[in-house]
């Protein structure tokens, strides 16, 4: 195995691994500071922050010959015997000088900068810079420029790492961003009439190591040090990108991509990134309610009057109502986790052993869209169709679709239906809802009002992606588990909690316990057993082996 020597420490690397000095140093626990290098982009070696000393150890004699000048760690591949020195005086002086140089044309307006607190310029200056500024500067505010619908450019905060420019050229393939002018007058800009408006545009904000690119959606909303982050999975489409939900006091402020080599690498799309606002929509359904039974409560309008039901009562009365009605049909939403889906099927079968189970409505939009950098936005706008289908298969309902359920109900083969939904936007129109008009009981569990909801005898609130815990299986059979990031609005029980209680289980809903149970119950889910890695597992891993 090749051995690389990092500050005297011998690090073994794989024989066919192609690593640069930054990556190897990281394995030795040494962070080589860098701005322009990013593992997902081409190497330009222009910021010069990662300059280090290197050398080569002769395999035969063990003698080390050093390169007389500094080299960029990002651009220098390592091989057997490569010697890396990351903390010599020369290296430290070079870093201090790059820091000093970068601040010469920087406004240093940290107090009003959104990046403050997570800014590499701040962090590196604190760590590697010199305490005194020798350059003659006047304090100034950065000029601001609108570069597109999602991003504002703070022109003078830029350190010209060109990560954003390379992203639009190499990953989104849209090439809106460019460098104008020359030398210290250089600026990032867009071409006239061609704003930064691609479906991956928000990533340039994450890539920006300083406060030059501001996300309009997040700008001035929250100081970043108040944010807490939870590892989540995006529910926007069946790609299931790994994300961090960043929140404070049960309010989501932004979503950030979470690095996952198996799924989304470093990126997420704008649809996913900004697809959390529905969580805090004022028109969300917050109470469990039942169609009023006493005449005095009966309304005069088209919408039947309802009465709010306490959750503890829902657990009992819902079961009774459905049991009384007779033949049950259940739509298992692809927005549910596999734990929730599994419990829902169990609840349904405990009410009616013959219950007709089917996949819930699968929202789609357009076609799958793959970008030059390999990132794909899926047309299927739900995170867990694959997972729910696998669960349905366990209950003998393999491949049963929403349309089959609609026909089943329309044909009068069911007396009651339980439709789980949880979609972030409108999904069913009045005509389609009509199929459910003549049921004895119709349970609809959704985030928002809908024509179907108006027909329901039971109206139950649903929860959004950040408010639930569990496991989703993406379009490529990759399963990822996540925890709850924020609490749902007051009064809302997450689906899992309702199903858990309806199954008569004790204590608080525990998604991990349910996952272990599912894993043990079927070979299709064996991969879910035990501790789940942060980047998830491929469900087929045991079937392949």
């Amino acid at each position: 195995m090749p051995v690389v020597i990092v500050d005297g420490q011998e690090i073994e690397i794989g024989a066919d691994e192609r690593l640069n000095c930054i990556e190897v140093a990281r394995r030795a626990g040494k962070e080589i500071p860098h701005y322009c290098w990013h593992p997902g982009l081409s190497v330009v070696a222009s910021c010069r922050m990662c300059l280090i000393e290197t050398g080569q150890r002769d395999a035969a004699t063990g003698k080390i010959t050093m390169v007389p000048k500094l080299v960029p760690g990002c651009q220098t591949p390592v091989k057997d015997g490569t010697v890396i020195v990351t903390e010599s005086e020369t290296v430290k002086e070079s870093r201090a000088r790059v820091e000093e140089a970068l601040l010469i044309d920087h406004p240093i307006d940290c107090p009003i900068c959104d990046k403050a607190g997570e800014c590499l310029l701040q962090d590196y200056h604190f760590q590697h810079g010199q305490p005194e500024r020798r350059a003659d500067l006047q304090p100034f505010h950065s000029r601001k420029r609108d570069v597109g619908p999602t991003v504002t450019l703070f022109v003078d905060r830029c350190i010209m790492c060109t990560r954003c420019v390379r992203f639009t050229r190499e990953i989104s393939g849209t090439a809106e961003l460019m460098v104008t002018s020359r030398g210290a007058k250089e600026e990032i800009d867009v071409f006239p009439g061609h704003p930064l408006a691609n479906k991956l545009s928000g990533n340039v904000v994450d890539l920006c190591p300083v406060g030059a690119l501001g996300d309009k959606d997040f700008l001035y909303q929250q100081r970043v040090w108040f944010l807490k982050r939870e590892a989540n999975v995006c529910g926007g489409c069946s790609a299931g990108c790994s994300i961090h939900t960043e929140h404070n006091q049960d309010a989501v402020y932004r979503l950030k991509p979470r690095e996952n080599p198996h799924v989304n690498t470093w990126w997420i799309c704008d649809e996913g990134r900004y697809g959390w606002h529905h969580l805090h929509d004022q028109s969300r359904i917050l109470d469990a309610a039942r169609k009023a039974t006493s005449p005095s409560h009966r309304g005069s309008g088209a919408t039947p009057a309802t009465e709010t039901v306490e959750w503890a009562d829902v657990v009992v009365k819902l079961r009774d109502d459905l049991k009384t009605a007779g033949r049950l049909a259940v739509a298992v939403s692809p927005m549910l986790t596999i734990e929730e889906a599994w419990m829902l099927c169990a609840v349904a079968r405990s009410i009616d052993p013959e219950a007709f189970l089917a996949l819930g409505f699968v929202p789609t939009k357009g076609e799958d869209e793959t970008f030059p950098g390999g990132f794909t936005i899926r047309a299927e706008k739900c995170p867990n169709r694959k997972g729910v289908e696998e669960v349905l298969a366990l209950y003998g309902a393999a491949g049963r679709s929403w349309n089959e359920l609609v026909s089943h109900v329309a044909a009068g083969k069911a007396d009651a239906a339980w439709i789980t939904a949880g979609y972030p936007g409108p999904w069913i129109d009045t005509a389609a809802a009509e199929a459910f008009a003549n049921l004895k009981q119709l349970v609809v569990q959704d985030l928002f009002d809908s024509p179907l909801m108006r027909l329901a005898s039971w109206r139950l609130p649903a929860t959004g992606f950040a408010e639930r815990a569990g496991t989703w299986v993406n379009v490529a059979h990759h399963a990822q588990s996540f925890r709850q990031a924020i609490r749902p609005p007051a009064g809302v029980w997450p689906e899992g909690r309702l199903f858990w209680n309806m199954l008569g289980r004790r204590g608080l809903y525990d998604a991990t316990a349910v996952r272990q149970q599912i894993a043990a119950s079927s070979p299709a889910f064996t991969a879910l057993a035990g501790e789940m890695p942060a980047t998830g597992v491929d469900l087929r891993i045991h079937q392949l082996a």
Binding site: L70, A101, L102
Partner: protein, 451 residues
Amino acid sequence: MTPFKPVLLEAVGVPDGHTIASYKSRGGYAPLEATLAGKQPGDVIEMVKSSGLRGRGGAGFPTGLKWTFLPKDHPGPIYLCINADESEPGTFNNRILMEDDPHQVIEGIILSSFATRASTAYLYLRYEYPQSWHRLQGAIDEAYAAGYLGKNIRGTSFSLDIYLHRGAAAYICGEETGLIESLEGKRAWPRIKPPFPAIEGLFRKPTVVNNIETMACVSQIARRGVDWFKSIGVPADPSNPRDPGSYGPKLYCLSGHVEKPGCYEAPLGITARELIDRFGGGVWKGRKAKAVIPGGISMGLMTESELDTPLDFAGPGKVGCLGLGTAAVVVIDDQTSIVDFLHNSARFFAHESCGQCTPCREGTSWSLRILERIKAGKGRLKDLDILLEIGNTMGMMPGSTICGLADGAAWPMKNAIKKFRGEFEDYIKRTNPSGWMVTDPVPALQIVGAH
């Protein structure tokens, strides 16, 4: 000393010397025909290697050796790029060649393409040379008509097309990988190396980048022979095995405070003093030289006492200059302020820094701002130390930048301050009597702005 007869500048002053007829009457294109008739590409490479020809563009890299870095048996295409983005201040030797004897250059390009197995050559011409552009295009058309360019030249399997490309006037396009990026239609940001252009250059194919004067030299070597070429210039230093010597004639561009500025051909190794006195008619107005730029502004400065330095590839380096560069000798007389000189130099490099690497982008700009402050009467002695520190730490040599532009910006700064520190100190003390000794960080000046 035997009188030296110009060879590269043979056509200067000859009526219609730029035409193919005139060029052929001087023996031009005969070596090409002979080469195509009976020689292999390897023979031409061997000829150029043994002649000791070193690139005339500035770095002085042995031309034949550069060609051998191309991968063997490459399926192609291989490209030859001719660097005529002559933008080093003080330099105009390529211009003379392109305007007065373009066929000499073109024959060199054809021979070099034959040697490197390139079937496409790009001639990258700086924007500011309209006359060169007209003359070159005319000459290329003539060469096509005469059958020296195009498909199956002279009935052989060798084909060559030359594309004349006009740049858009940026100094950085003269850096070989900046030139390649620019040719590809991109911003001329020099590339990181490796891979070197010989392995992956233009359009990611093996590429050789050579200077115009180098091409003219190839023509002359083919016409007059290796021995003739090696009889001129300075032989390799036997005590230094890494010195390839400085052979052949060289075009020196003499300008600045001399009586007769111009482009003069002389054997490599002529001293600066001889050049100024014998060709330039001495420093103008009977004055003395204070400093002389040996080969374009980025090579730094020689003082009056260093003028006997031979201007070969090794000479200027011995007196602390960066090298021979483009052999553009600029004379600065003793009435000129070296502070003004350095300010002007810094202004040039701050304007021309491509802005890719932090140390160069910010270093050139910062040093200009410091010099502007010094010139505004707010200088401090400490500034000289900062300028020296910037100069010592930016560039390829300390490893802090991708290309050599920063070295070129650093050298005049380092040389000027080291060799003329007294003058800088006097200037600062005289213009800032109350503040020259302050060492605190300076407050910003309203009047100070980058040009």
